[in-house]
Protein backbone atom coordinates (compact mmCIF):
# COMPACT_ATOMS: atom_id res chain seq x y z
CA UNK A 1 0.00 0.00 0.00
CA UNK A 2 1.32 3.46 -0.89
CA UNK A 3 1.69 6.23 1.69
CA UNK A 4 -1.39 7.96 0.27
CA UNK A 5 -3.45 4.81 0.54
CA UNK A 6 -2.15 4.19 4.04
CA UNK A 7 -3.16 7.67 5.15
CA UNK A 8 -6.61 7.19 3.67
CA UNK A 9 -7.03 3.87 5.45
CA UNK A 10 -5.77 5.41 8.69
CA UNK A 11 -8.31 8.24 8.40
CA UNK A 12 -11.03 5.78 7.50
CA UNK A 13 -10.25 3.68 10.57
CA UNK A 14 -10.59 6.79 12.72
CA UNK A 15 -13.81 7.90 11.01
CA UNK A 16 -16.33 9.10 13.61
CA UNK A 17 -13.77 8.99 16.40
CA UNK A 18 -14.14 12.10 18.51
CA UNK A 19 -10.95 14.15 18.72
CA UNK A 20 -9.18 12.57 15.74
CA UNK A 21 -7.43 15.08 13.50
CA UNK A 22 -7.04 12.63 10.61
CA UNK A 23 -8.73 13.69 7.39
CA UNK A 24 -10.28 11.67 4.61
CA UNK A 25 -9.22 12.68 1.08
CA UNK A 26 -11.08 15.73 -0.15
CA UNK A 27 -11.14 14.76 -3.81
CA UNK A 28 -13.11 12.00 -5.46
CA UNK A 29 -11.65 8.53 -5.78
CA UNK A 30 -11.08 7.08 -9.23
CA UNK A 31 -11.89 3.43 -9.84
CA UNK A 32 -8.37 2.21 -9.06
CA UNK A 33 -8.13 4.17 -5.82
CA UNK A 34 -11.63 3.00 -4.84
CA UNK A 35 -10.74 -0.64 -5.51
CA UNK A 36 -7.61 -0.37 -3.38
CA UNK A 37 -9.50 1.34 -0.55
CA UNK A 38 -12.33 -1.19 -0.61
CA UNK A 39 -9.95 -4.14 -0.66
CA UNK A 40 -8.06 -2.87 2.37
CA UNK A 41 -11.20 -1.73 4.20
CA UNK A 42 -12.79 -5.17 3.87
CA UNK A 43 -9.56 -6.90 4.88
CA UNK A 44 -9.32 -4.71 7.99
CA UNK A 45 -13.02 -4.99 8.88
CA UNK A 46 -13.76 -1.33 8.21
CA UNK A 47 -16.95 -1.75 6.20
CA UNK A 48 -18.86 0.30 8.79
CA UNK A 49 -16.57 3.30 8.55
CA UNK A 50 -16.53 3.03 4.74
CA UNK A 51 -20.31 2.88 4.40
CA UNK A 52 -21.07 5.66 6.86
CA UNK A 53 -18.36 7.93 5.48
CA UNK A 54 -19.68 7.39 1.95
CA UNK A 55 -23.33 7.79 2.97
CA UNK A 56 -22.67 10.91 5.05
CA UNK A 57 -20.76 12.56 2.21
CA UNK A 58 -17.51 12.68 4.19
CA UNK A 59 -15.87 10.46 1.58
CA UNK A 60 -16.43 11.84 -1.90
CA UNK A 61 -17.83 8.93 -3.85
CA UNK A 62 -20.01 8.33 -6.87
CA UNK A 63 -23.51 6.92 -6.49
CA UNK A 64 -22.21 3.52 -7.59
CA UNK A 65 -19.37 3.65 -5.04
CA UNK A 66 -21.83 4.63 -2.30
CA UNK A 67 -24.07 1.71 -3.19
CA UNK A 68 -21.07 -0.62 -3.22
CA UNK A 69 -20.01 0.56 0.25
CA UNK A 70 -23.51 0.18 1.69
CA UNK A 71 -23.88 -3.30 0.16
CA UNK A 72 -20.58 -4.40 1.69
CA UNK A 73 -21.70 -3.09 5.04
CA UNK A 74 -25.08 -4.81 4.81
CA UNK A 75 -23.32 -8.10 4.08
CA UNK A 76 -20.92 -7.63 6.99
CA UNK A 77 -23.72 -6.69 9.39
CA UNK A 78 -25.83 -9.65 8.33
CA UNK A 79 -22.88 -11.91 9.15
CA UNK A 80 -22.40 -10.21 12.53
CA UNK A 81 -26.07 -10.73 13.39
CA UNK A 82 -25.88 -14.41 12.49
CA UNK A 83 -22.77 -14.72 14.64
CA UNK A 84 -24.58 -13.07 17.53
CA UNK A 85 -27.42 -15.54 17.08
CA UNK A 86 -24.87 -18.34 17.41
CA UNK A 87 -23.29 -16.58 20.38
CA UNK A 88 -26.59 -16.59 22.26
CA UNK A 89 -27.07 -20.29 21.51
CA UNK A 90 -23.53 -21.08 22.61
CA UNK A 91 -23.90 -19.11 25.85
CA UNK A 92 -27.14 -20.92 26.59
CA UNK A 93 -25.44 -24.28 26.14
CA UNK A 94 -22.45 -23.27 28.28
CA UNK A 95 -24.74 -21.91 30.98
CA UNK A 96 -26.67 -25.18 31.05
CA UNK A 97 -23.38 -27.05 31.41
CA UNK A 98 -22.38 -24.66 34.21
CA UNK A 99 -19.18 -23.67 32.40
CA UNK A 100 -17.94 -20.12 33.07
CA UNK A 101 -17.16 -18.10 29.96
CA UNK A 102 -16.34 -14.51 28.96
CA UNK A 103 -17.07 -13.12 25.51
CA UNK A 104 -14.07 -11.37 23.98
CA UNK A 105 -13.56 -8.78 21.26
CA UNK A 106 -16.11 -8.38 18.42
CA UNK A 107 -19.64 -8.42 19.77
CA UNK A 108 -18.60 -7.36 23.27
CA UNK A 109 -16.72 -4.32 21.98
CA UNK A 110 -19.38 -3.45 19.40
CA UNK A 111 -22.02 -3.14 22.11
CA UNK A 112 -20.00 -1.68 24.98
CA UNK A 113 -17.20 0.45 23.55
CA UNK A 114 -18.71 1.68 20.29
CA UNK A 115 -21.62 4.09 20.43
CA UNK A 116 -22.93 2.44 17.27
CA UNK A 117 -22.41 -1.30 16.96
CA UNK A 118 -22.61 -1.04 13.17
CA UNK A 119 -19.10 0.42 13.15
CA UNK A 120 -17.53 -2.75 14.54
CA UNK A 121 -17.34 -5.69 12.14
CA UNK A 122 -16.30 -9.15 13.36
CA UNK A 123 -15.85 -12.44 11.56
CA UNK A 124 -16.11 -14.95 14.38
CA UNK A 125 -17.03 -15.34 18.02
CA UNK A 126 -14.21 -15.29 20.56
CA UNK A 127 -14.77 -16.94 23.92
CA UNK A 128 -12.47 -17.07 26.93
CA UNK A 129 -12.70 -20.30 28.87
CA UNK A 130 -10.60 -22.05 31.49
CA UNK A 131 -8.20 -24.63 30.13
CA UNK A 132 -9.42 -27.15 32.70
CA UNK A 133 -13.00 -26.80 31.36
CA UNK A 134 -11.93 -27.95 27.89
CA UNK A 135 -13.98 -31.13 27.72
CA UNK A 136 -17.10 -29.52 29.16
CA UNK A 137 -16.84 -26.59 26.76
CA UNK A 138 -16.39 -28.75 23.67
CA UNK A 139 -19.27 -31.02 24.72
CA UNK A 140 -21.59 -28.07 25.36
CA UNK A 141 -20.75 -26.42 22.05
CA UNK A 142 -21.34 -29.68 20.18
CA UNK A 143 -24.96 -29.38 21.30
CA UNK A 144 -25.36 -26.22 19.20
CA UNK A 145 -23.78 -27.83 16.15
CA UNK A 146 -20.19 -26.68 16.58
CA UNK A 147 -17.43 -29.10 15.70
CA UNK A 148 -13.68 -28.80 16.18
CA UNK A 149 -12.05 -27.48 13.03
CA UNK A 150 -8.54 -27.10 14.38
CA UNK A 151 -7.59 -29.56 17.14
CA UNK A 152 -7.25 -28.57 20.73
CA UNK A 153 -3.84 -27.33 21.61
CA UNK A 154 -3.31 -25.66 18.27
CA UNK A 155 -1.44 -22.42 18.45
CA UNK A 156 0.31 -20.27 15.91
CA UNK A 157 2.64 -17.32 16.11
CA UNK A 158 -0.20 -14.85 16.36
CA UNK A 159 -2.67 -16.81 18.47
CA UNK A 160 -0.71 -18.94 20.93
CA UNK A 161 -3.50 -18.55 23.49
CA UNK A 162 -6.08 -20.26 21.30
CA UNK A 163 -7.48 -23.52 22.61
CA UNK A 164 -9.44 -24.55 19.53
CA UNK A 165 -11.42 -23.32 16.55
CA UNK A 166 -14.91 -24.70 16.14
CA UNK A 167 -17.16 -24.36 13.13
CA UNK A 168 -20.79 -25.05 12.34
CA UNK A 169 -21.97 -26.42 9.01
CA UNK A 170 -23.16 -22.94 8.02
CA UNK A 171 -19.56 -21.73 8.27
CA UNK A 172 -19.94 -19.71 11.48
CA UNK A 173 -16.84 -19.99 13.64
CA UNK A 174 -16.06 -19.84 17.34
CA UNK A 175 -12.53 -19.31 18.64
CA UNK A 176 -11.84 -20.63 22.12
CA UNK A 177 -9.12 -18.86 24.07
CA UNK A 178 -7.54 -19.64 27.38
CA UNK A 179 -5.57 -16.39 27.77
CA UNK A 180 -5.84 -12.77 26.70
CA UNK A 181 -2.15 -11.99 26.85
CA UNK A 182 0.34 -14.34 25.20
CA UNK A 183 3.11 -15.34 27.57
CA UNK A 184 5.71 -14.57 24.89
CA UNK A 185 5.14 -10.90 25.83
CA UNK A 186 6.31 -11.79 29.31
CA UNK A 187 2.79 -11.48 30.63
CA UNK A 188 1.95 -13.13 33.92
CA UNK A 189 -1.74 -12.33 33.64
CA UNK A 190 -3.63 -15.36 34.89
CA UNK A 191 -6.93 -16.42 33.42
CA UNK A 192 -8.64 -17.00 36.76
CA UNK A 193 -8.64 -13.31 37.66
CA UNK A 194 -10.53 -12.57 34.43
CA UNK A 195 -13.50 -14.53 35.76
CA UNK A 196 -13.67 -12.58 39.04
CA UNK A 197 -15.70 -9.66 37.74
CA UNK A 198 -19.35 -9.74 36.79
CA UNK A 199 -19.44 -7.34 33.84
CA UNK A 200 -22.26 -7.94 31.36
CA UNK A 201 -24.12 -6.39 28.48
CA UNK A 202 -27.59 -7.05 27.16
CA UNK A 203 -27.95 -8.71 23.77
CA UNK A 204 -31.42 -9.47 22.54
CA UNK A 205 -32.68 -9.26 26.11
CA UNK A 206 -30.10 -11.68 27.44
CA UNK A 207 -27.07 -11.02 29.61
CA UNK A 208 -23.67 -11.63 28.03
CA UNK A 209 -20.66 -12.01 30.39
CA UNK A 210 -17.59 -10.04 29.31
CA UNK A 211 -14.31 -8.69 30.68
CA UNK A 212 -14.12 -5.38 32.49
CA UNK A 213 -13.22 -2.39 30.26
CA UNK A 214 -9.74 -2.40 31.81
CA UNK A 215 -9.21 -6.07 30.92
CA UNK A 216 -10.68 -5.49 27.47
CA UNK A 217 -8.12 -2.75 26.97
CA UNK A 218 -5.22 -5.07 27.76
CA UNK A 219 -6.63 -7.64 25.37
CA UNK A 220 -7.07 -5.03 22.63
CA UNK A 221 -3.47 -3.86 23.11
CA UNK A 222 -2.19 -7.39 22.53
CA UNK A 223 -4.54 -7.73 19.59
CA UNK A 224 -3.04 -4.60 18.09
CA UNK A 225 0.52 -5.86 18.45
CA UNK A 226 0.15 -9.58 17.86
CA UNK A 227 0.43 -9.55 14.08
CA UNK A 228 3.29 -8.73 11.75
CA UNK A 229 2.06 -5.11 11.80
CA UNK A 230 -0.33 -3.19 14.06
CA UNK A 231 -3.97 -4.06 13.40
CA UNK A 232 -6.02 -0.98 12.55
CA UNK A 233 -9.27 -2.23 14.02
CA UNK A 234 -7.58 -3.09 17.32
CA UNK A 235 -6.15 0.44 17.51
CA UNK A 236 -9.68 1.76 17.00
CA UNK A 237 -10.88 -0.60 19.76
CA UNK A 238 -8.26 0.86 22.08
CA UNK A 239 -9.40 4.41 21.33
CA UNK A 240 -13.05 3.45 21.81
CA UNK A 241 -12.36 1.71 25.11
CA UNK A 242 -10.36 4.60 26.52
CA UNK A 243 -12.54 7.42 25.22
CA UNK A 244 -15.99 5.88 25.17
CA UNK A 245 -16.33 3.70 28.28
CA UNK A 246 -16.41 4.32 32.01
CA UNK A 247 -12.88 2.98 32.26
CA UNK A 248 -10.98 3.68 35.44
CA UNK A 249 -7.56 4.67 34.10
CA UNK A 250 -5.76 3.97 37.35
CA UNK A 251 -7.33 0.51 37.57
CA UNK A 252 -6.35 -0.16 33.96
CA UNK A 253 -2.76 0.72 34.71
CA UNK A 254 -2.78 -1.35 37.91
CA UNK A 255 -4.19 -4.28 35.94
CA UNK A 256 -1.48 -3.91 33.29
CA UNK A 257 1.22 -3.79 35.96
CA UNK A 258 -0.19 -6.77 37.79
CA UNK A 259 0.00 -8.82 34.62
CA UNK A 260 3.41 -7.44 33.62
CA UNK A 261 1.91 -6.11 30.43
CA UNK A 262 2.85 -2.44 30.69
CA UNK A 263 5.33 -2.33 27.77
CA UNK A 264 2.80 -3.72 25.31
CA UNK A 265 -0.07 -1.64 26.68
CA UNK A 266 1.98 1.57 26.61
CA UNK A 267 3.17 0.92 23.09
CA UNK A 268 -0.30 0.14 21.77
CA UNK A 269 -1.88 3.21 23.37
CA UNK A 270 0.94 5.44 22.14
CA UNK A 271 0.53 4.01 18.66
CA UNK A 272 -3.23 4.62 18.79
CA UNK A 273 -2.84 8.26 19.75
CA UNK A 274 -0.16 8.82 17.12
CA UNK A 275 -1.89 7.06 14.23
CA UNK A 276 -5.29 8.64 14.85
CA UNK A 277 -3.79 12.03 15.76
CA UNK A 278 -5.97 12.17 18.84
CA UNK A 279 -6.17 15.60 20.36
CA UNK A 280 -7.78 14.55 23.63
CA UNK A 281 -5.24 13.91 26.34
CA UNK A 282 -6.40 11.49 28.99
CA UNK A 283 -4.48 9.91 31.88
CA UNK A 284 -3.72 6.66 30.03
CA UNK A 285 -2.48 8.41 26.89
CA UNK A 286 -0.34 10.72 29.00
CA UNK A 287 1.09 7.73 30.85
CA UNK A 288 1.84 5.93 27.59
CA UNK A 289 3.83 8.92 26.34
CA UNK A 290 5.80 9.11 29.58
CA UNK A 291 6.41 5.40 29.92
CA UNK A 292 9.85 4.72 28.52
CA UNK A 293 9.78 0.94 28.47
CA UNK A 294 9.28 0.88 24.73
CA UNK A 295 12.09 3.34 24.25
CA UNK A 296 14.24 1.00 26.26
CA UNK A 297 13.12 -1.85 24.04
CA UNK A 298 14.12 0.04 20.91
CA UNK A 299 17.51 0.92 22.38
CA UNK A 300 18.11 -2.65 23.46
CA UNK A 301 17.10 -3.83 19.98
CA UNK A 302 19.58 -1.45 18.44
CA UNK A 303 22.42 -2.57 20.66
CA UNK A 304 21.68 -6.24 20.02
CA UNK A 305 21.64 -5.64 16.29
CA UNK A 306 18.08 -6.88 15.94
CA UNK A 307 15.66 -5.44 13.44
CA UNK A 308 12.90 -3.50 15.17
CA UNK A 309 9.41 -4.26 13.93
CA UNK A 310 9.97 -7.94 13.24
CA UNK A 311 7.72 -9.40 15.90
CA UNK A 312 8.44 -13.00 15.02
CA UNK A 313 12.12 -12.57 15.50
CA UNK A 314 12.30 -13.61 19.12
CA UNK A 315 15.90 -12.55 19.43
CA UNK A 316 14.98 -9.01 18.40
CA UNK A 317 12.25 -6.56 19.27
CA UNK A 318 9.85 -9.30 20.27
CA UNK A 319 12.22 -11.03 22.61
CA UNK A 320 13.35 -7.74 24.04
CA UNK A 321 9.78 -6.76 24.80
CA UNK A 322 9.32 -10.07 26.50
CA UNK A 323 12.35 -9.58 28.67
CA UNK A 324 11.25 -6.05 29.50
CA UNK A 325 7.82 -7.35 30.42
CA UNK A 326 9.42 -9.48 33.09
CA UNK A 327 11.52 -6.59 34.30
CA UNK A 328 8.45 -4.39 34.53
CA UNK A 329 6.74 -6.86 36.80
CA UNK A 330 9.35 -6.15 39.43
CA UNK A 331 8.94 -2.42 38.94
CA UNK A 332 5.18 -2.68 39.10
CA UNK A 333 5.22 -4.67 42.30
CA UNK A 334 7.66 -2.25 43.90
CA UNK A 335 5.53 0.74 42.95
CA UNK A 336 2.43 -0.79 44.42
Amino acid sequence: MSIGHRDTLRALTAYGLSGSLTRLPEGSLDDDAWTVLVTHAVREGLQGQLAWAAANGDLHVTAAQREHAVDLHDTAMAACLRLEGLLLEALGALRSADVPVRVLKGSALAHTAYGDASLRVFRDIDLLVRAEDRHGVIAALRRVGLRILVPTGHGDDYSPSRMAILRRTDGLTVDLHTKIAPSRFGSSLTTDVLFDSDTRYLLSGREVPILTPEQQLIHACFGALSGPRPRWVSLRDIAQLILNTEMDHKSALDEARRGATTPAVARAIRLTWREFELADRVPLSEWSMRDDTDGDAQRLSATSGAVAGRPNDRTGWWGTLRRLGRATLTTGVRKR
Binding site: A51, W52, A54, A55, N56, V70, H73, D74, M77, A78, C80, L81, R82, E84, G85, D116, A117, S118, L203, S204, G205
Partner: protein, 84 residues
Protein backbone atom coordinates in the same frame (compact mmCIF):
# COMPACT_ATOMS: atom_id res chain seq x y z
CA UNK B 1 -44.75 -3.76 20.36
CA UNK B 2 -41.19 -4.78 19.56
CA UNK B 3 -40.00 -8.11 20.83
CA UNK B 4 -36.98 -7.92 23.11
CA UNK B 5 -35.48 -10.98 21.42
CA UNK B 6 -34.24 -9.19 18.32
CA UNK B 7 -30.71 -8.66 17.11
CA UNK B 8 -30.40 -5.34 15.32
CA UNK B 9 -27.97 -3.23 13.31
CA UNK B 10 -28.32 0.21 11.83
CA UNK B 11 -27.14 0.72 8.27
CA UNK B 12 -26.98 3.92 6.23
CA UNK B 13 -30.13 2.93 4.35
CA UNK B 14 -32.13 1.31 7.12
CA UNK B 15 -31.98 -1.55 9.58
CA UNK B 16 -31.18 -5.24 9.69
CA UNK B 17 -33.10 -7.44 12.14
CA UNK B 18 -32.49 -11.05 13.07
CA UNK B 19 -34.73 -13.11 15.32
CA UNK B 20 -34.50 -16.64 16.66
CA UNK B 21 -37.06 -17.77 14.10
CA UNK B 22 -35.28 -16.45 11.04
CA UNK B 23 -32.15 -17.77 9.37
CA UNK B 24 -31.41 -14.58 7.49
CA UNK B 25 -31.78 -10.97 8.64
CA UNK B 26 -34.83 -8.97 7.65
CA UNK B 27 -33.86 -5.78 5.82
CA UNK B 28 -35.91 -2.69 6.62
CA UNK B 29 -35.53 0.42 4.50
CA UNK B 30 -37.43 3.68 4.16
CA UNK B 31 -40.95 3.36 5.55
CA UNK B 32 -40.17 -0.06 7.03
CA UNK B 33 -37.30 1.36 9.06
CA UNK B 34 -39.43 4.34 10.12
CA UNK B 35 -42.21 2.01 11.23
CA UNK B 36 -39.73 0.06 13.34
CA UNK B 37 -38.58 3.28 14.97
CA UNK B 38 -42.20 4.19 15.71
CA UNK B 39 -42.62 0.80 17.37
CA UNK B 40 -40.09 1.77 20.03
CA UNK B 41 -43.25 2.34 22.07
CA UNK B 42 -46.31 0.09 21.86
CA UNK B 43 -48.58 1.39 19.10
CA UNK B 44 -51.86 0.49 17.43
CA UNK B 45 -52.23 0.04 13.71
CA UNK B 46 -54.19 3.27 13.56
CA UNK B 47 -51.55 5.24 15.44
CA UNK B 48 -48.84 4.00 13.09
CA UNK B 49 -50.97 4.75 10.06
CA UNK B 50 -51.64 8.27 11.23
CA UNK B 51 -47.93 9.10 11.50
CA UNK B 52 -47.04 7.42 8.20
CA UNK B 53 -49.93 9.09 6.39
CA UNK B 54 -48.65 12.48 7.48
CA UNK B 55 -45.04 11.61 6.69
CA UNK B 56 -45.69 10.35 3.18
CA UNK B 57 -48.82 12.25 2.21
CA UNK B 58 -50.65 9.15 1.08
CA UNK B 59 -54.18 7.89 1.58
CA UNK B 60 -54.85 6.36 5.03
CA UNK B 61 -56.49 3.26 3.55
CA UNK B 62 -53.45 2.62 1.41
CA UNK B 63 -51.15 3.02 4.41
CA UNK B 64 -53.20 0.56 6.45
CA UNK B 65 -53.32 -1.89 3.54
CA UNK B 66 -49.52 -1.78 3.26
CA UNK B 67 -48.93 -1.86 7.00
CA UNK B 68 -50.97 -4.97 7.78
CA UNK B 69 -48.84 -7.48 5.81
CA UNK B 70 -45.63 -5.73 6.88
CA UNK B 71 -46.50 -6.01 10.56
CA UNK B 72 -47.65 -9.58 10.07
CA UNK B 73 -44.30 -10.46 8.49
CA UNK B 74 -42.47 -8.96 11.47
CA UNK B 75 -44.76 -10.79 13.88
CA UNK B 76 -44.23 -14.12 12.15
CA UNK B 77 -40.49 -13.53 12.26
CA UNK B 78 -40.73 -12.98 16.00
CA UNK B 79 -39.77 -9.33 15.89
CA UNK B 80 -43.13 -8.05 17.11
CA UNK B 81 -45.46 -9.07 19.90
CA UNK B 82 -49.16 -8.36 20.04
CA UNK B 83 -50.43 -6.93 23.29
CA UNK B 84 -54.00 -6.41 24.36
Amino acid sequence: MRSEAVLLRRTPDGLLLLTERSDAPVVLRGTGALTWELLSRPSTLEELAEVLEAAHDVDREQVVADLRPFLETLREAGALELTS
